[in-house]
């Protein structure tokens, strides 16, 4: 059976991740413990969720720079809401998700109606969301609620003491949901179509406006969900949290094999992109000898290495085909 060339970038991503894990494992045998695997999933849960939203945005040829700020805003919003009102966290979640989804939809609307580049609209969105977080509070607000305790302590103890936490499971579910939406619905098909060429998509009958609004609303929803997960992860809301997360998410999506120009990619690839970013972090912590500045340099170099490897693999496979 021959492999469809469409799958090459995805396979390359997964292959490189496996290879990288192997290299890490040979250096630190402990890397293969369920504990490390569980940590990898839990620690990157919020990133994975937001990256799924980002994948759809990038598939449509857009970009969403606001997500990092939206995560911070979400945490602050929930924390303040729980502190100042007697709402149940679930109600707070519902309100928050409505707010962030509407925020995303509004950005999508501006992008479409005013034909403004997504980069700029979401950049303004990034300032706005963080500014809104500041206006709610400038301090970090702890979340104390019995329900949060339950959420925090919900995990499945894997053999070997690793924990598969609730938020990790939420992340995996988000990936599955994202994959189904992107690859198995008409909405997803429209997203790919817009990424392939907006004008063409329009002529093929895509409702570009509605789809654009939907895409950014989805990203806003995912950022809100990621904010919830992050607030569970840290039991607090902090307006300065997750600065620059949008760039990490974009990098993860790109490493996951999605083209930044839009129209080609897989949500599953994004999961591996996120895990790769997490692996780089873990490796650096395990190593523990890098100074602050070398940490930055090494992260950059590893990022470049992954991208080059991926391109190399793709070139080789396209030559063979």
């Amino acid at each position: 059976m021959t492999v469809n060339p469409r799958l090459y970038p995805l396979l390359a991503t997964i292959g490189i991740f496996m290879l990288a894990y192997l290299v890490c494992w040979m250096q630190f045998p402990y890397m293969l413990s369920t504990r490390v695997v569980g940590n990898l999933l839990t620690d990157n849960a919020y990133l994975g969720i937001v990256a799924v939203g980002m994948t759809l945005v990038i598939l449509s040829g857009g970009i969403d720079l606001s997500v990092g700020s939206v995560i911070a805003f979400s945490g602050v919003f929930i924390a303040v809401l729980l502190r100042d009102t007697g709402l149940h966290p679930l109600a707070a979640f519902a309100i928050l998700l409505a707010v962030t989804t509407a925020f995303g939809a509004a950005m999508g609307g501006v992008i479409h109606l005013l034909a403004m580049p997504a980069f700029i609209v979401t950049l303004a969105g990034m300032f706005l969301a963080r500014g809104a977080a500041y206006m709610l509070t400038i301090e970090s607000v702890p979340i104390v609620h019995p329900f949060y305790e339950t959420l925090k302590n919900a995990y499945w103890l894997m053999p070997g003491k690793g924990r598969l936490t609730l938020i990790a499971i939420v992340m995996l579910l988000a990936v599955v949901a994202g994959a189904l939406i992107a690859h198995r619905t008409r909405f997803g098909a429209s997203v790919f179509a817009i990424g392939g060429g907006e004008q063409t998509a329009r002529l093929m009958g895509v409702r570009v406006g509605a789809t654009t609004v939907g895409i950014y609303a989805f990203s806003g929803f995912m950022a809100g969900l990621s904010g919830i997960v992050f607030s569970i992860y840290t039991s607090s809301g902090y307006p300065l949290a997750t600065v620059g997360t949008e760039l990490t998410a974009i990098a993860a999506v790109v490493i996951g094999g999605t083209l930044l120009t839009g129209g080609a990619g897989y949500v599953l690839g994004t999961l591996f992109g996120v895990l790769t970013m997490g692996l780089i972090q873990t490796y650096i912590v395990f190593d523990g000898s890098l100074s602050s500045w070398w940490t930055k340099i090494v992260i950059g170099v590893l990022l470049l290495l992954f991208i080059l490897l991926q391109r190399g693999l793709l070139r080789v496979s396209s030559l063979r085909a």
Binding site: T185, R186, G197, R202, L203
Partner: protein
């Protein structure tokens, strides 16, 4: 009346593209929409199908006023369309393109197996044997064109609109398409057909409407019109077709011409098998072959777009470097590519800037072409090639398809190359401009320029070429010289394969 359009108008900044146009389409007819480049055919189609917002006018479908605001609304009304430039999405699979908007679903989710089945069903009858799970972009222009037609056909409950569907198809495919169209017509569909090939119009259509400068000139039954009358409608004047006959007689036999360039064993594995080519001053070499036979790729090798992995070139002065386009240009080559949208025009730049671009690139950035010189060149070629534009500062992307093609030609003529490669130079060009371009070819060769022309129209090739090379399966299989240069000979050369080899079409 199935579809009637009353007094439809549309202006763009600086142009009145449609001026109170009426148009009527009956059920069960094929109606040709004709006109010069820039006459407004594509604009009319786009206004009809909701891709453009019209300024004024009425559209009636089955007597009911309709106003499709988006193309998807038009599709829901039963109007299927193949647009001229933009067809399908190269990043989606063939199946996704074909079923787009009507994907079969199970439990709300698209079932990709059912989708592929549906796609294969839609393609049945078009003689394409391709893997519908592959990206559309991996197939040739012709295959994509057939897929676009198949999609539009299946979308057209009542009306099917085809804007130059045959521009990149070869004769066999055109025949097959026509069979399908006749069948649809007999089933009561109304079909709008745009083409610059008048033979096809007379072969297929029942009635025709001619547009000129955005105005409707005439609607007539095919039976009541003839070629000359039609051309007169389109151009507003008679066309002088005599020149073509003249030429072959006036030029010297090609052996006596001065040899200018010699390519030895140029080739690239997986692209085109190594071939030799001798180019003489003032001669026209035609490249013939079926779609996918490697004509474009041969041209790309000669111009360095794809680096040749073997072979070299010589002229009197010694070896010639053609390893990349810039080197080839320095060596005096020129290349007007096949896909003008992605490889030819710079859409947002003006006509003037597009024309001087290559010249400027060769002179280097430190030696800007003076503005007066730029204006002179632009005005000169706008006049010589009859480029229809409001002025030289209009963005090329806003010109009609045929006029964009002329701008690309003008760019290379302005370079005055010694060896110019034209890949499908007359694709999408109207009959007046077609004659104009052939005349230009003659004029250029008379001044000593050598040409390599690729065309799917054998008659056109025969008309211009001194020599024709026939390609088959990515090999230069045959050369026809002198009296052998006839359309029949080409067809025969293509059809008699070297025993073992069989023709494959479609996926390369």
């Amino acid at each position: 009346m199935l579809l009637s359009i009353r007094s439809l108008s549309k202006s763009f900044p600086g142009t009145k593209a449609l001026d109170a146009v009426d148009f009527e389409l009956k059920a069960g007819e094929v109606h040709a929409l004709l006109g010069e480049n820039g006459a407004g055919k594509s604009t009319l189609i786009k206004c009809m199908t909701g891709a453009y917002r019209r300024d004024s006018g009425q559209i009636l479908l089955d007597g009911q006023p309709v106003s499709p605001g988006t193309t998807s609304e038009a599709q829901e009304l039963g109007i299927g369309t193949v647009y001229q430039e933009i067809n399908l999405l190269p990043n989606l699979t063939v199946a996704q393109n074909l079923t787009f908007g009507r994907e079969p679903r199970r439990f709300g989710m698209i079932s990709s197996r059912a989708q592929r089945d549906m796609a294969r069903e839609m393609l049945a009858g078009y003689g394409l044997d391709i893997d519908v799970g592959r990206d559309l972009g991996s197939y040739s222009v012709a295959v994509q064109q057939v897929i676009a037609i198949a999609r539009a056909v299946s979308l057209s409950g009542k009306v099917l609109i085809l804007d130059e569907p045959t521009a990149s198809l070869d004769a066999a495919e055109v025949r097959m398409l026509f069979d399908i169209l006749r069948d649809l017509r007999d089933r009561g569909l109304g079909i709008v057909f745009v083409s610059h090939f008048l033979d096809q119009v007379f072969d297929l259509c029942d009635r025709l409407t001619v547009l000129r400068n955005g105005c409707k000139i005439a609607t007539e039954a095919i039976a009541e019109t003839d070629r000359l009358k039609l051309i007169k409608h389109m151009l507003g004047r008679e066309l002088d077709e005599a020149t073509e006959e003249e030429r072959r007689k006036t030029t010297a036999p090609h052996e006596e011409r001065h040899e200018m360039l010699r390519f030895d064993r140029v080739g690239r594995p997986g692209t085109v098998a190594p071939f030799d080519l001798t180019v003489r001053r003032g001669e026209v070499i035609g490249l013939a072959g079926l779609l996918g036979s490697g004509r474009t790729e041969s041209a790309e090798l000669l111009f360095g777009v794809r680096a040749a992995q073997s072979g070299q070139a010589h002229d009197e002065a010694g070896p010639v470097d053609f390893s990349n386009p810039r080197a080839a240009i320095r060596a005096g080559f020129g290349f007007a590519p096949e896909d003008r949208k992605t490889d030819g025009i710079i859409a947002d730049l003006s006509v003037r800037e597009n024309i001087v671009l290559a010249l400027q690139a060769r002179r280097g950035w430190t030696h800007p072409v003076p503005r007066a010189e730029q204006n002179r060149l632009a005005d000169d070629y706008i006049a010589r090639l009859d480029i229809r534009t409001s002025d030289a500062e209009k963005a090329v992307g806003d010109l009609s398809g045929g006029n964009q093609q002329k701008v690309v030609l003008a760019r290379w003529l302005a370079m005055n190359p010694r060896f110019l490669i034209l890949d499908e130079p007359t694709r999408g060009i109207d009959i007046g401009a077609h004659a104009e371009i052939l005349r230009l070819i003659h004029q250029m060769t008379a001044e000593g320029m050598a040409l390599l022309v690729i065309s799917s129209e054998f008659d056109e090739l025969v008309a211009v070429s001194d020599r024709i090379i026939v390609l088959r399966d990515r090999r230069h299989a045959h050369a026809l010289v002198g009296d052998e240069v006839t359309a029949d000979a080409i067809v025969r050369a293509i059809a008699t394969p070297d025993a073992a080899q069989t023709q494959t079409r479609g996926a390369a």
